[in-house]
Point group: C2
DNA sequence: AGCTTTGTTCAGTAAGTACTGAACATTCCA
DNA sequence: TGGAATGTTCAGTACTTACTGAACAAAGCT
């Protein structure tokens, strides 16, 4: 195979630079969206990197290096991500290091957590309706709406999870 | 009509005390659940009170008194709630004061916002898939799952909003 | 006009979050 | 055994959030 010309090498270097910037932006973007849903940004950045990393499992040292973060931060945030079932810790034969990777069906877990939140809203609406049990219907309508909407969503949540997984396997 | 006995009066007072405590708990609970979804607790407390208040419209002074909060806080948080379409400002004839009340179909708005978040996740997954466009399918599966799950939810969201409203009108 | 009422603005501050990195604990290797 | 590698813990700190309440602006009343 013929060697690349200097121009071709330059072009490849530029492509790689662009790729690195895109990767960095992607990782930061996942961080921001995690922040938007109430999770720490660093947890999102870890998750973002694990979504695209090759190999898909990364050690703490890898994460420290790639994300330019402290070991303490990576340690705390990886344990948070494990706790909320988005990543898992894996060990490799003959390796002292722990490795982290995206948990299979992580999104089902996240959807489950969204469902838990909907249930909390529905339950709160029921408590509110109890408080207004002696009031006329017009005064209860605010809570009835809240209740009905969330009871409706709650009823369909399980199908979201199961249908969503079928799509993945289909 | 015959006057209540002292014992009956005592019993009613106790009932009212219990009711007040339940109301306070409800309001604080809504505050906590708002906090859990990334909104300020005070916004939740305002919303919680407006869910059960009689009359359903309350002035700033009412909110300051009931919630034992500063005018500055109530001012800032009511404007936040208006901005995210959960409450609205109403004026009453011959009244100088502004009043706030739960916006009709507020929950459709909140569901809309949930959908926006799902769209953001799906779009991010697409960006990630683009980054890994030259990689084998096993490496892309993490992002494919994220994409498929959110594309699936996104497709159904509009029906949940419209079906949820139908339930309310039915 | 002055006064009162009402809602907004924002400086100040308390509290909470989340990050760093040193110290430490654990495990493995020579 | 001592040293190296790895991950955890936590004191310290920077930063952010969100609350208070005084000062202010606007509007209505007398």
């Amino acid at each position: 195979m013929t060697a690349l010309t200097a121009a071709e090498l330059d072009s490849k270097r530029i492509e790689q630079k662009i790729k690195q910037i895109e990767v960095s932006h992607f990782v930061e973007e996942v961080g921001l969206i995690f922040e938007a849903v109430g999770l720490p940004r660093m947890a999102g950045r870890i998750f973002g990197w694990l979504l695209i990393a090759n190999p898909p499992h990364q050690s703490m040292g890898d994460l420290v290096e790639v994300l330019q973060a402290s070991k303490g931060s990576i340690s705390t945030m990886t344990r948070l991500l494990i706790q909320i079932s988005l990543i898992e810790r894996v060990s490799l034969p003959g390796q002292r290091r722990d490795y982290f990777q995206i948990k299979p069906h992580a999104w089902s877990q996240l959807t489950q957590q969204r469902m838990t939140q909907i249930t909390a809203f529905r339950q709160l609406a029921e408590r509110g309706l109890n408080l207004l049990s002696d009031q006329p219907p017009q005064l209860r309508q605010r809570l009835q709406e809240m209740h009905d909407m969330h009871a409706f969503l709650e009823k369909r949540c399980p199908y979201w999870i199961s249908d969503g997984n079928k799509n993945n396997n289909g």
